[in-house]
Symmetry: C3
Subunit: 342 residues, 3 copies
């Protein structure tokens, strides 16, 4: 169910073949001859798709409610009652998914084919669009009115940008759908592979990254910042977000409206940032956590758990600001005492 | 008063019109028909310029001594006695300034026009200059003798570099005046927009970034490092500074001679770094602070206040090295005791 | 002894002349007329090479066992008994080495000459290689079968990559020998100058960086990451290593098989990372330390000393995980007490 503008699927494939590829056992009511058209996340999969569930608490509800026609699961998983979903049991469902996804998307990187012309003949440019010297616009890309693309920038195939967008020199934008008045500074990398691997003793199996980067209106992204595309779900940046230089935004991250992110921040995969959040410089945020609307994180903090809306957190591991300063003052006082008085 | 080589001003504009744009009330001796030619910082503004003062302690002296013809101020500000400066009173002077600056500089980004030729016909190249394949040299740029520009690098319009400079492949240099023997590695981003916004409930208003990046002689800048141009004042890097990879230097920062900055450091806006300072890797430095000459900051420290000359600071928030180690040892000892003995 | 595919040496030079360049005194059995062909590290130098030893404990053994024909040493160093090595005594051996290395390698950057064609006529491309629009392939570069080079990427002179490699758009690869199935994302900088300087009162003397970057098979390197080339030794990344975005890897670092490095990590010069190590995001690692096989470092930690194999370390300065949490809990409890009870 990857966006066909960006990815070419090699399906359909019969369930029995997929079971072989995933090194899986079909359990329950699976028909090996059933045709599966594509992989898809639990939340959006339909009866023609295969998904996976690695028994993670976060996705339990999505698993119970999924419309997927087939699902790769761990051996011994408690299966949902009813429904016509076929189950493929494996030791490591994420690995099983990676193997199946490679079967549906065997191409190394279909978006890198050479181009005869700087602006591909199938690209559509609105009125007033200006393309800098050496910039490359891929096949089927669409740029709205008055977009300005800097020298030696690269707009990948099928990318869409709205009106009045700016892409700085040397930036690259791939697998991306962006709104109006988006400003992307020099050297930004939108849409590269997310960091998705299944690790085993003999090495790391790459998980195909099949999502996109969705960017709203009035977003600004600073120099040399990187925003990876989703792994299957999308990486999403809402309207009015401003991001400083050298920030890392991993796959499947969601960032809410008007949020501010200062330089050198790292946001790990599948984390959700609310609206009007302020994230100080060099903050690190773990994967799969949520920062509530209006929360603030002071510079250099490390976030390993959810942050409530409106809260102000500091430190590594981050605590509410008052606690942080109390800890800092306590330690300073203790350190000033003679050893015998501590 | 932005450098006309880099920016095209849309003035003059009458004070009365500017008051309307800034949503301001003219107080004191302001003639609505007075022609204002440009925006300028308090320190350098003349009688034909409009500046702003947001009642910040740091700029109180500059406000008292400014030669500006007009100034946007907060309501109720204590105005300097005497002088012929007109005052425009608003709720948020920085927002008022941003609105007025947009009026003087309405173009989105005048420096990104397409070019017919890789090296613009108006660029001036000294003897022995070598331009790599695919590099783009903008209109009116000047490169001194023996400069070497890497493949696919971009030198923006009106940029000036002295003799024997090297710009690595894929780097971009814009809004910049540089000295001799400057070495800029691959992927460096010089002169992108500073991170300047006025935030309000309905979103962030961009503050036009109208300054430059000034680089002295014998400066080295490492791969993928970013140096934003000033917001009105300049970002300044003195002779002999060496900067490692992936460093972020924000707008209006000043860095003194022979200072060393290791990888992944972030320096926030308007901070002043002295001569012969050494900044360890991943250090974060807040805005508007000063690091004294010869000070040293250990890796990963966080600096939120001024550092005295010659001092050695460590930790977040940073303290003198001796205090840091005492705190570290104290905490280790306490943690080793049984809970009842702490 | 720099790789002649990447560097052009200006030797041989007689020992007496080198002594003058290094501002050194020949001690022991040095013949001023002896011809020296090149600089080389202690470990690999032969009788025709000059090396240096700055009395560092780390290199004591290498100094005792070196086959170098000449060596720049500090005054008063205890010299190895026997052997025919000539010694050049100076105050600062690293400075002496830098001066001599500049004499052997006087060119600013021989790898940046302009090219007439996007793909140099002397480059060798295997079957199925695809070169994106605007990409530049340097003289003598070799790309194995089915390599795909993104738009506006730059492959430097003499670079070699194996089969099925991908180089993303806008990336630059220089001074590098890479294996098969290597994936380099957009904006990556391979092979830029290491951060090597000798500092003195009057400024910093650059140390010529004469090594390479050696990359094994199945390595992945994330967007805008930087991997500096070695200073004389090489920077080495073994098979199966996966590196996230915006990581800094300094000169002479060695990374073992299947190691995982998350975003925004900084690894300082000459550090050795074992096999199957996992390094969390924003970790900083000092120079000249060793991380044992299978060790894990939690996000944002700071490593200043060797880490044992299999250990799990956290914090700055990093300690074993159990100690870290005990310290964190201890400080939280103390801070919650009334001041009189601490």
């Amino acid at each position: 169910m990857a966006d066909p503008r960006f990815y070419t699927v090699a399906g359909p494939l019969p369930l029995g073949k997929l079971a072989g590829i995933a090194e899986a056992e079909i359990i329950g009511n699976g028909d090996p001859g059933k045709q599966i058209s594509d992989v898809a996340p639990l939340q959006t999969a339909g009866s023609e798709h295969i998904s996976f569930f690695d028994n993670n608490k976060v996705y339990r509800e999505a698993f119970a409610e999924t419309g997927a026609g087939a699902c790769i699961v761990g051996r011994g998983v408690e299966t949902p009652t009813g429904g016509g979903m076929a189950l493929l049991a494996v030791d490591d469902p994420h690995r099983g998914y990676a193997l199946v996804a490679h079967a549906f998307y065997p191409a190394m990187d279909a978006n890198m084919e050479p181009q005869a012309e700087p602006v591909d003949a199938t690209a559509k440019l609105g009125p007033g669009v200006a393309i800098g010297r050496g910039a490359v616009i891929g096949r089927g890309a669409r740029l709205g009115a008055n977009c300005r693309i800097g020298a030696n920038a690269v707009i990948g195939p099928a990318v869409e940008m709205g009106e009045d967008c700016i892409v700085g020199p040397g930036a690259t934008v791939r697998y991306c759908l962006a709104g109006n008045r988006v400003r992307i500074a020099a050297g930004v990398r939108i849409g590269e592979d997310g960091f998705g691997y299944v690790s085993a003793a003999k090495g790391h199996l790459k998980v195909p990254q099949l999502g996109r980067v969705l960017i709203g209106d009035d977003v600004e992204i600073g120099a040399n910042t990187t925003v990876d595309r989703g792994s299957g779900p999308d990486t999403t940046i809402a309207d009015g977000v401003i991001i400083d230089n050298l920030v890392q935004i991993a796959h499947n991250v969601t960032i809410g409206r008007n949020t501010i992110i200062i330089a050198l921040v790292g946001i790990s995969g599948s984390t959700t940032i609310g609206d009007n959040v302020v994230i100080g410089g060099q903050v690190g945020i773990a994967g799969h956590v949520t920062l509530g609307d209006g929360s603030k994180i002071m510079a250099q903090s490390g976030i390993m758990a959810d942050i409530p809306p409106g809260a102000l957190f500091v430190g590594t591991p981050a605590v509410p600001q008052r606690d942080y300063w109390r800890q800092t003052v306590t330690l300073r006082r203790l350190a000033k005492r003679k050893p015998s008085e501590r």
